[in-house]
């Protein structure tokens, strides 16, 4: 019993000293979610990282053919994240905006992984598209997603299969606001 108590005390000391810490706790990047009814919810990166997450492959190509990745990416499916503000439904659009003044609009179908293009390693369209999940990514290759690459929060298209390349135009960097319209 005394040994167990000792272990607990040591564990508590380690935690208090910050040895086991939340890697997202120090990131000051509020994300504003806006529901279709106009209600807003502001979340920290740490709160987003505490939601049920998914993990898989991320690989994108820009409009001029520059490839980014492949990465092992982690995040929350956009469609799940928007349940925080009442959810998104058929016929509605999702406006994702970024701190640098960029905006991209997703359809409900795209959030379900439909109407998205995927390419093979030679940048040819795949005849049998892979299953794709648009996510709000907060980690890549096991570490918080860096600011210089578009973090701490970036939209990404996740696939279960490796070497599937997706459209980079959807990978919105520095996401700070997501609104449901319609």
């Amino acid at each position: 019993m005394r040994n167990l108590l000792l272990i607990l005390v040591i564990f508590a000391c380690i935690c208090a000293a910050g040895c086991i810490s939340d890697p997202y706790a120090e990131i000051d990047w509020p994300l504003t979610l806006v529901g279709a009814d106009g209600n807003e919810k502001v979340m920290t990166v740490s709160e987003i990282a505490s939601l049920p997450s998914v993990n898989g492959n991320g690989y994108a190509v820009s409009t001029v053919g520059i490839k980014y990745g492949p990465y092992n990416i982690t995040g929350v499916p956009l469609i799940e994240l928007l349940n925080q503000v009442g959810g998104v439904h058929e016929g509605q659009t999702v406006h994702v905006s970024a701190a640098d003044g960029y905006l991209w609009v997703f359809s409900y179908e795209q959030l379900l992984g439909e109407d998205l293009l995927c390419l093979d390693a030679n940048l040819k369209e795949m005849k049998n598209p892979a299953t794709m999940t648009p996510i709000l990514m907060y980690a890549a290759d096991g570490a918080p997603y860096p600011y210089d690459d578009g973090g701490p929060l970036r939209v990404a298209t996740m696939t279960a299969e490796p070497d599937v390349i997706t459209e980079g135009s959807l990978w919105v960097k520095w996401v700070d606001r997501i609104e449901i319209h319609g």
Binding site: G101, Y102, L103, W104, V105, S107, L119, H181
Partner: protein
């Protein structure tokens, strides 16, 4: 110590100095951000320039024209040379104060022009029939698939729409825009005409109906891939891109191809409003203008002097021309 001894010591000093990095092989990096449609000629120009100037490393990073400028104005990256496919973007986006109270730039050099064409392959439907005189009637046929790039992402995309708007009016073919493009959407895309002006307002989500004759891809390179695989029969793109890709193409009439300065007052009768404002720094209105390429050096270019030298070399190369180069002005 004899002569051989001194030589040996000298050799060892050189070896250790080089090994410790004191003799450096570092290059001066000149960062160039061009529009995607210039990547092919610029790769050649870069190679030629670096062969003459082995101490210079020209680093080319392609983007869409608006994104190219935003690397400086919105993302504040240290860029030495900006080269875009729409000369109007430089004054619109860069003739304003940056964080240091100085304009991002106050000048630009127009240097080449391009025109819209229809690219196709031997496998395209009616490939042996299409000409400058009949292209619009071929595109109107039900069994012909047409592609263009996403107007929100790529200037060639909204220019394809402007071409079709101008064609309906200038070639006097009522309903042409609808039969080639507009009727592939639900609801139809419709041109609003008032006093000779034409406007087209795009929906937030520009998605052709499944099985329709129109396909849209993010950018030219994906469209060209689709064309080569037979997914579409014809693609709207720049003439230099079609030539650079080794594709067949048909030229369009000068009053609709956005390539002739003499028709500038005709082109600006057509305006496209994109479905949403993708960038906070530039609106969603795109007016018909001749396609003119232009370059500028941002005020805070880290390697201004080297950028000026490369710009001069680049302008000479474009004036001389080559396969896949836009035509000199």
């Amino acid at each position: 110590m004899d002569k051989r001894g001194y030589l040996a010591i000298g050799f060892l000093i050189i070896l250790f100095t080089a090994g410790s990095g004191c003799i450096s092989d570092e290059h001066t990096v000149v960062k160039v951000v061009p529009a995607g449609s210039l990547l092919l000629p610029l790769a050649e120009i870069e190679q030629e320039y670096e062969a003459i100037h082995p101490d210079i490393d020209i680093q080319i990073e392609g983007h869409g024209s608006i994104q190219a400028i935003r690397q400086v104005t919105d993302l504040h990256r240290p860029i030495d040379l900006i080269v875009v496919a729409d000369e109007s973007l430089i004054p619109d986006m860069m003739y304003r104060e940056g964080p240091n109270g100085v304009n991002y730039t106050d000048w630009y050099t127009p240097f080449a022009r391009n025109e819209m064409v229809l690219a196709f392959t031997n496998a395209s439907a009616y490939a042996d029939e299409i000409t400058t005189k009949n292209w619009y009637s071929i595109l109107s046929r039900d069994d012909v698939k047409v592609g263009f790039s996403n107007p929100t992402l790529d200037a060639a995309g909204y220019r394809a729409l402007l071409v079709m708007m101008l064609a309906e009016e200038q070639l006097d073919v009522p309903g042409l825009f609808g039969s080639v493009i507009g009727e592939s959407f639900n609801p139809d895309l419709i041109i609003n005409k008032t006093d000779g002006d034409m406007t087209l307002e795009l929906p937030v989500l520009l998605r052709p109906e499944g099985g329709s004759k129109v396909l849209i891809r993010d950018a030219s390179m994906f469209l060209m891939s689709l064309l080569e695989s037979g997914g579409i029969d014809y693609a709207f793109d720049y003439k230099s891109v079609a030539i650079g890709q080794g594709l067949r193409y048909v030229e369009l009439q000068p009053e609709v191809n956005l390539g002739d300065e003499a028709y500038a007052s005709v082109y600006d009768d057509a305006v496209v409003y994109l479905g949403f404002q993708r960038f906070a720094t530039i609106g969603n209105k795109r007016t018909g203008l001749p396609v003119v390429y232009a370059a500028t050096i941002p005020y805070d270019a880290p390697e201004r002097e080297e950028a000026e030298k490369f710009l001069t070399f680049m302008l000479d190369a474009f004036a001389e021309g080559g396969t896949g180069y836009p035509a000199p002005l």
